[in-house]
Structure formats: structure tokens, C-alpha cells
Symmetry: C2
């Protein structure tokens, strides 16, 4: 399948990517508990010490997996907001994509936010990463002359907290498909974002 890197292929031919994909599949199958350096190596068909030549230990491999996962995460958000034009619906769709990513890839979400998101954000890529997508969706709701970060942090905190609590079962066993009613009700708080406070 994916072989776009003909740089060096002494023995294996594009290990590194094979290790990352092994890690991703381990993550899907057994959650974050199941992720281990040695199992990634075994699944890629190399010895347990081979990854050391491509990553800086387990933290390095985990970071690389997180970077890959962050791209998937970004694609989720972009895919969900794509079908909407109204700013409010767009913001709501962003949150739905956030939650759905958490449901589909719970282990990956923990990897991404386990090391601090800053490790994956590449400022040079412009609006191609998840935080820039959030930023763009929040922009229409920023009151004139106010700190833009406030709204972003409000939205991010709300959906991030909801997603983590939801997938860890705090609101009851989560069905794989998001029930529209309750989700929309909770996210109704977003309708107040950026508006004047109630009297």
C-alpha cells in the first residue's frame, strides 16, 4: 500500500512507517494499554531493538503515532464541517466530529492529548491542523475587539470535556452512534457563545 518513501531500504524497506502503522492498529485493537514498543516491532516483523534506529525510544514512537493520529483527527473535523455553511451549524458539526473521533479512536485520542497537543501542531502548515480548524469555526463568534482566544478555549473545553466524559462512560455506556437529541441539547450551550450575557 503506502510506499511513498524510497529513501533508504537496507533490509526492511520503510520500517518507521510500518512501525507507526503497527502502533495505530494496536491502538485500535486494544486501546492505549496494548501499545508497546516490542509489540510494534514484532508486528512489523523486526527485532525489539530495531525501533531505536528510527525513534527516540517509546516516547519517540508514541509521538510519531500521535502526529499521524493528529492528521486523522484533523480530517475528521474538516469532514464534519465541510457540509455546513451556517456558522452555528458549522460549530456544532465540529463538535460532533470531535466526539465521533473520540468514539472511533479512543486510544488515539489519549495518545494525542497525553503528551500535550503542542507537540503535534505545526504552525507552518497554515490552516491544515485541527486547532486552526477550531479557530476558523470560532472566528464568527468573537465579539468585536475581544480576545479571540476566550471563545476558542470555551468551545474547546466544552467539547473536549464532553468527549472524554462521554467515552469513559460517565453519562452511561456510550452508543457508537451519537444520539442527536442529548448531544444537541448539551451543545446548545454553544448558542450562547459570544453573545451578550443574559440580563
Amino acid at each position: 500500500m503506502t510506499k511513498p518513501a524510497p529513501k533508504t531500504k537496507h533490509h526492511h524497506g520503510n520500517l518507521r512507517q510500518a512501525l507507526i502503522e503497527a502502533g495505530l492498529s494496536l491502538l485500535e485493537e486494544g486501546g492505549i494499554e496494548a501499545l508497546s514498543l516490542r509489540k510494534c516491532a514484532a508486528r512489523a516483523g523486526v527485532s525489539h531493538a530495531a525501533p531505536a534506529h528510527h525513534f527516540d525510544g517509546l516516547p519517540g514512537l508514541t509521538k510519531a503515532i500521535g502526529e499521524e493520529g493528529f492528521r486523522v483527527f484533523t480530517a475528521y473535523l474538516q469532514g464534519y464541517i465541510a457540509e455546513h455553511t451556517d456558522p452555528r451549524e458549522k460549530l456544532r458539526a465540529l463538535c460532533r466530529g470531535y466526539l465521533q473521533f473520540g468514539l472511533d479512536h479512543a486510544g488515539l485520542l489519549k495518545v494525542i492529548f497525553g503528551a500535550g497537543l503542542a507537540a503535534y501542531v505545526d504552525d507552518k502548515r497554515g490552516d491544515a491542523d485541527a486547532y486552526q480548524v477550531l479557530r476558523a469555526c470560532c472566528a464568527p463568534f468573537i465579539p468585536a475587539g475581544e480576545n479571540s482566544q476566550i471563545v476558542e478555549i470555551q468551545v474547546w473545553s466544552l467539547i473536549h470535556g464532553f468527549t472524554l466524559l462521554y467515552i469513559s462512560g460517565e453519562f452511561g455506556a456510550p452508543p457508537p452512534a451519537i444520539p442527536d437529541g442529548p448531544f444537541d441539547q448539551v451543545m446548545g450551550l454553544l448558542d450562547r457563545v459570544g453573545t451578550a450575557p443574559a440580563p
Copy 2:
């Protein structure tokens, strides 16, 4: 200090509690990474297999530590809301206590929410646990005839997400004391909780 359990003291005299407290101190010193069954045993002065007689392995010890931590967490929330009577300020104080607990005991917070909060909630204790405190603080803002859970979930999600993102450094390195301005601005979203949607 704490010796309220003279049940059995064959050799050690209240191991179990000693193991829990060892785990708590390990958590404070080295975060969740530093918590291990063998280190707890060593710190309590017993062999590495001793904990098996008191807990069901590491998961069992972790759960017990989480229960203890949950009591501290509850005390934080109660302490912070105690000094306020206005419902809005009470709700804000609750959130401040939540965040401050996360700052003071980051490892403990991860233990508590790592296994699902439901493991620690004891319904019989009435309003003495953290969720009941949250419930009580949300009660004044529930619109007549509406599902009370919605507001609770909104508040919980917002402060939970904010706390986790804050302590993991997503908003920049967190100072140990919460800066009032930004915190109040973000929590300003709470002022819209339970009010009619904006036109």
C-alpha cells in the same frame, strides 16, 4: 496519625491504609507514572507481594487510591463553594475548586477519572460526594420542566475539559495560582447556562 481501624493487625498493623497513603505520596511526588505496586509496598515497609492480600492487584490498589482521592476532591469543591451564597458565584467557585484540585493533584485527578468516576460514587452517602455537589450547584439553573442532567453535563464538561487542557499546558505553562481574569472570562460561558437561547 490515622488509626481508626483496629480490626486486624497481625504483623503490620493497618497495612492497606499504609499502602494507600504510600500511593498518594508517590502520586504527588512523581505523577501517575511513578505509581507502582512494588514501590507502594516498599514505601510501606513490606514485601512486593504483600498488597495482594489487601487489594485485587494494581487495579484494586489504584481504585482504593482513587476512592481516597475522590474524598479529597469532594472536600475541595465543598470548601470552595462554602464561602458563597449567590448561585452564580457558587457555580463559579465550584469550577475554581475543580481546577485548583487539578493543579494541586494532577496525578490523582488522572487516577480518579482513569477508571470511570462511577467506580467511586457511593449513592448512599447522599450529597457528600462530588457529583452531588455539582448537582446542587446546578439546580438553580435548571429551566422548569427540563431534564436536569443537561445543565449538569454542560457545566461538568466545560470545567473538566478546561481543567485537563489547562494542566496539560495547552493554553501555555499554567501558573500554580489561577489568574482571575482569563478564568472568569472563560467561565463566563456559565452565565448563559439555563437561560433562553439568544435570538
